[in-house]
Subunit: 351 residues, 2 copies
Amino acid sequence: MKNFDINEDPHRRYNPLINEWVLVSPHRSKRPWQGQNETVISDTLPEYDPTCYLCPGNVRANGMVNPDYESSFVFENDFAALKQEEIAFEENKNETFFKAKPERGISRVVCFSPKHNLTLPEMSADAIENIIHTWQKEYTDLGNVDYINHVQIFENKGSVMGCSNPHPHGQIWAQSSLPTEVEKTQSNLKAYFDKHNKTLLEDYVKEELKLDERIVIDNDHFVALVPFWAIWPYETMIVSKRNVNKITDFTEAEVVDFAIILKQLTTKYDNLFETSFPYSSGIHQSPTDGELHPEWHFHMHFYPPLLRSATVKKFMVGYEMMGESQRDITPEKSTEILKNQSNVHYKRLTK
Amino acid sequence: MKNFDINEDPHRRYNPLINEWVLVSPHRSKRPWQGQNETVISDTLPEYDPTCYLCPGNVRANGMVNPDYESSFVFENDFAALKQEEIAFEENKNETFFKAKPERGISRVVCFSPKHNLTLPEMSADAIENIIHTWQKEYTDLGNVDYINHVQIFENKGSVMGCSNPHPHGQIWAQSSLPTEVEKTQSNLKAYFDKHNKTLLEDYVKEELKLDERIVIDNDHFVALVPFWAIWPYETMIVSKRNVNKITDFTEAEVVDFAIILKQLTTKYDNLFETSFPYSSGIHQSPTDGELHPEWHFHMHFYPPLLRSATVKKFMVGYEMMGESQRDITPEKSTEILKNQSNVHYKRLTK
Ligand SMILES: O=P(O)(O)O[C@H]1O[C@H](CO)[C@@H](O)[C@H](O)[C@H]1O
Ligand SMILES: O=P(O)(O)O[C@H]1O[C@H](CO)[C@@H](O)[C@H](O)[C@H]1O
């Protein structure tokens, strides 16, 4: 009988953050593709677009005028999924099939730059530091609202990720409940912390640094790696080396290093297929429920859909929806490919 | 303070099948859309396509020739995500971060018809019965393989769902482990059964039939409904009225009624936006691990991505990936819209 070779043989890997498995099929990367191709957005956007509702000085859908902002700019989402209004409600604890609860929250949009045609990898590290400071301020302000217990910072980049405007921006959805994925993660982080008195991610990052098989970049304070259990072809996670609970606990040196690793990682992404690399990213950190959460350890997920080129993505469909996530290329192979990308953005080289 | 109105106010709903929540934002359906549009596949495909690797008599990528099949046709997937080979492996039970196990399995493709341009709603109920019999045979044959404990029957329909060939076909991935979603479902079904000595879905369907707010279609043996906790805009579930454990337990009357409800539901789907409606569907039923599973109750999920038109889909991205699934239109509103669609396919009316 053949001995198990993780680089060759179909296998499942376990994700200890959410207690789920992923099916890995290394041999399947040679599959031909005759399916849907994504369209690539033109690389020649103007610095200012008079029809863009995020550019400085322009009018938004609700009639409000954006200020002439010079770095970042935050406003309430005009079509928020959450509302701030308090709703009277009596819970029926015995309900099994028709359990529903009103949910309060605040949704904001964070413009990363006044320039319509910039994205994170093309910004200066200084400009990215400014975004980090904005995230810190929002985490604090929103977290201080009495009924807000969780602040989800995220970005959808690229039309293939449902982003309807190329102007660089992210979002924040702050709400009273812990969202499903956060609750799952918290319960696994907590079980680990209760047992080891250290965070799961502190120990995981140490092991990964020792093995050095899935590290894409690291600096003094952060590491960007392809998790052993990654589901998306080029999924990565930026994790703090120190046990940082939340973004507002960053030292200034950590702000500097986080900006650098964000710039480098997104530059490598763009260089991979010489395209503005689409992804959804999001920060997982301590909830703002007023409790101590020593189990939480700052990390940022990047879920990019592209698989083989700027136009061919991985579809998480039938089997993945009914069964479990599935990937072809191994996380180790993806790491190698990402690691080998230059830290200089391809647009600067081809100019 | 305003009283909770489930048709108007943002709220979360609980999914007892997988123990997760969904965020519902009824007020958000008015949001304008400037984002990505899907391309619609031409409605005028030929009945036979000489370049299609699924048409009768054609040669597949691996050089094999398809027989001149007349109803359905099953073959091993030429680019299978699973392999049948047995792999030697020693498990390290103490591993936390790098847990991996080889996985054995068999992947098959099920052609639904020799005609390249047919889809389920355009087939006769008789032809659909034949597909159901094929699924029964495959469930039995694959389930009887000693190392196979789970048989996942599914279909990806439409290029937006990663389907690379419009020839009507589904897939079956059979494997030794229970996939993540199935395991989650099983543990919730089992907890309910152990407590009530009835299946969760038997009780749920009874309640839904009484309320009649989310029933799209029903007949003597099946109901097609929008689950109270649906995440996709037009998500539905076909559930057997009797407590049927697996597809091979169907009576002949159940085969007949399942074919009819499949045809009617997919016809309503096509009629909704007058397009060949994309979705991923999949059957959840008893595993084939040789154990008794009284907790399982046959059901088939339909996860269609379209939201507002043939070209505008719902994106499950940033917040949904980091936080939890989110929907705009309520399940009750979706039910009403689907219910009002004709059972006669739009192509028959416009001819
Ligand atoms: O096997 P196919 O049809 O080539 O591939 C399709 O379905 C599979 C199973 O859901 C997915 O893993 C693929 O991403 C998708 O493109
Ligand atoms: O808020 P946006 O950018 O209009 O919308 C986008 O992000 C949201 C949050 O992930 C999703 O719910 C939407 O489906 C997506 O299109």
